[in-house]
């Protein structure tokens, strides 16, 4: 059963921090925002699917990555099953980035930061940047010729910033640990925050939308 505003009416005797956080969440993130079953009719565009496909790509990346991490970095080089799992990981990363970029351009041309959604945009860009670093550390962690050369050629750019002193791309152990543990947690957390921001505020209205006053039947909708 969904929580309504009435259910979440503040109890004047509840002055706990926990109660305050619960009331905030109930007010800003009711279940019917997280799991909506009706949306404004303009959401019926393929552009809105890009972000969803990117998330499913991320699910495949993380799932295959968990298997690769479990068996260790050398497994996929000597096992046919491992090679297949690595291939799933490889192509899922490609799908993820293709749809992240499509999602980003789509949201840009929709100016999706309007009407108080600027932080949603900023978090989305941060997700993109962290995903880039995650992909980069993954390529360095492949333990093959590509990984060797990427590390050697990338070191100069990183060293030029001073970051090379504590982010050593030639140190496989450091890159692998960051790739399989820290960055996936960060990406996943940021994606959850990003999605919750979208659900909390709802999708942005079309540019120059001039609402007509309600109750009008949209094209192709028999339910309204």
């Amino acid at each position: 059963m969904s929580m309504t505003t009435k259910d979440a009416a503040p109890d004047p005797t509840d002055r706990t921090w926990t109660g305050a956080v619960r009331r905030l969440l109930e007010r800003r993130l009711p279940l019917n925002h997280i799991l909506p079953s009706r949306q404004p009719f303009f959401v019926g565009s393929w552009v809105y699917v890009f972000g969803v496909v990117a998330i499913t790509g991320l699910i495949w990346v993380i799932g295959s990555g968990i298997v690769l991490a479990f068996f260790g970095p050398g497994w996929w080089h000597v096992s046919a099953v491992g090679r297949f799992v690595n291939s799933v990981h490889f192509w899922a990363v490609q799908v993820l980035f293709i749809f992240v970029v499509l999602h980003l351009w789509g949201q840009y041309f929709m100016a999706s930061w309007r009407d108080g959604r600027a932080t949603t945009w900023v978090v989305g860009v941060v997700v993109f940047v962290v995903a880039l670093v995650t992909g980069f550390t993954g390529y360095i962690s492949q333990q093959n010729l590509d990984a060797q050369w990427i590390a050697i050629s990338a070191k100069d750019g990183i060293n030029a910033t001073g970051a090379g002193a504590f982010f050593n791309v030639l140190d496989f152990g450091q890159m692998y640990g960051i790739h399989v543990m820290l960055l996936p947690i960060l990406v996943t957390t940021l994606v959850v925050v990003h999605v919750l921001q979208v659900r909390m505020r709802g999708v942005v209205r079309p540019i120059d939308a001039t609402p007509s006053g309600g109750g009008t039947k949209p094209p192709g909708d028999a339910a309204t």
């Binding site: 009719f41 969803v52 499913t56 799908v95 600027a118 941060v126 050369w149 090379g164 007509s212």
Partner: protein, 323 residues
């Protein structure tokens, strides 16, 4: 169903809603992406060209390995003179005027190229090898000028070197003990011993490949293989993958700067490119607050295509007295 909160009710007032099954959309997208990913994985597999070892380098291009090792001894190799974070040199320190962040964190790796890449491994190999021990003693006890004289002459001779049974042969000259040192280093490398020593660095567990990668990076053999796989920076290598597989195509903008002036010839190109990308990334993140950038979507009416149903609907209802 329960109504949306008043915030969204207010925001969407006047815009009709339609049934929308979020979970169904996610599951269908998951299945569709699964089909694409699994088909690609089965049909095309994934790239995996085996890594190069120092052992393979010694076997395939011994002259290059010996030339590289000689430059490590002479302190003229890329790594030996690099500077932070590997050594105390300054050749690869990039700066824009007084702005040189590479120098801020100092020498974190403490690489001693001559000792780490050549003299240290030879010291281990000299156990039970009196000829090598003697040559090593002669080299380390000589003064700097004498050593540089040997190394300079030997480096010149390597330009016309040949190989015989896997060994490097140079014309006769005054090289001191250097040829003996290099012949033994080459033998250690061919046995795989140099890989092990540089990776382990005196420890049992090893995950840090800084030293072997720097050593191989100083030579030309690995770079030649990278070039054949179109991985060099001048080949947009940062976004490429071995073979015909897609690489990190999303790094195209980062790679592009290295191909165009003034970046392509700048001695501090890496710092310039990183700062350029940092600036562009910040601009992308703060698009909502930057005039012109945030207005472009209004000027280029892609949104008219995306929301064409909405605008058609709006146009129809805008003519109504109540609309």
């Amino acid at each position: 169903m329960s109504k949306p909160s008043s915030d969204q009710d207010t925001y969407y007032r006047g815009i009709p809603t339609v049934p929308y099954d979020l979970l169904k959309e996610i599951i269908l997208a998951f299945v569709a992406s699964a089909v694409v990913i699994l088909v690609l994985a089965v049909a095309l597999s994934s790239p995996d060209i085996a890594p190069v070892t120092i052992q393979a380098w010694a076997g395939q291009d011994p002259i290059d390995l010996v030339t590289t090792a000689t430059s490590e001894l002479a302190g003229t190799s890329f790594s030996a003179a690099y500077g932070p974070p590997y050594s105390n040199g300054s050749d690869s320190v990039q700066a824009i005027g007084p702005f040189a962040p590479q120098s801020w964190a100092g020498n974190a790796v403490h690489l001693d190229a001559a000792q780490d890449f050549v003299l240290g491994p030879l010291g281990t190999a000299a156990v039970g090898n009196p000829d090598l021990a003697s040559a090593l003693g002669a080299y380390t006890s000589a003064d700097d000028a004498t050593r540089q004289g040997w190394l300079s002459a030997y480096t010149d001779a390597l330009g016309a070197a040949s190989t015989q049974d896997g060994n490097v042969v140079v014309a006769k000259g005054n090289y001191g003990p250097v040829p003996v040192l290099m012949a033994n280093l080459l033998a250690v490398a061919r046995s795989g011993g140099l890989d092990a020593q540089l990776i382990a660095g005196g420890q049992f567990f090893a995950t840090n490949y800084t030293r072997p990668l720097l050593f191989m990076g100083d030579g030309g053999y690995l770079a030649g293989l990278a070039e054949s796989q179109h991985l060099l920076g001048s080949q947009w290598g940062m976004m490429n993958e071995t073979g015909s597989y897609p690489g990190q195509a999303w790094l195209w903008l980062y790679s592009m700067w290295y191909q165009i002036p003034p970046y392509d010839t700048a001695p501090n190109a890496d710092l310039l490119v990183v700062l350029t990308m940092l600036g562009l990334t910040l601009m992308l993140a703060f698009v909502p607050f930057i005039p012109v950038l945030r207005d472009i979507p209004r000027w280029i009416p892609v949104h008219r295509l995306i929301w064409r149903d909405y605008y058609r609907w709006q146009q129809t209802h805008a003519t109504r007295p109540d609309g």
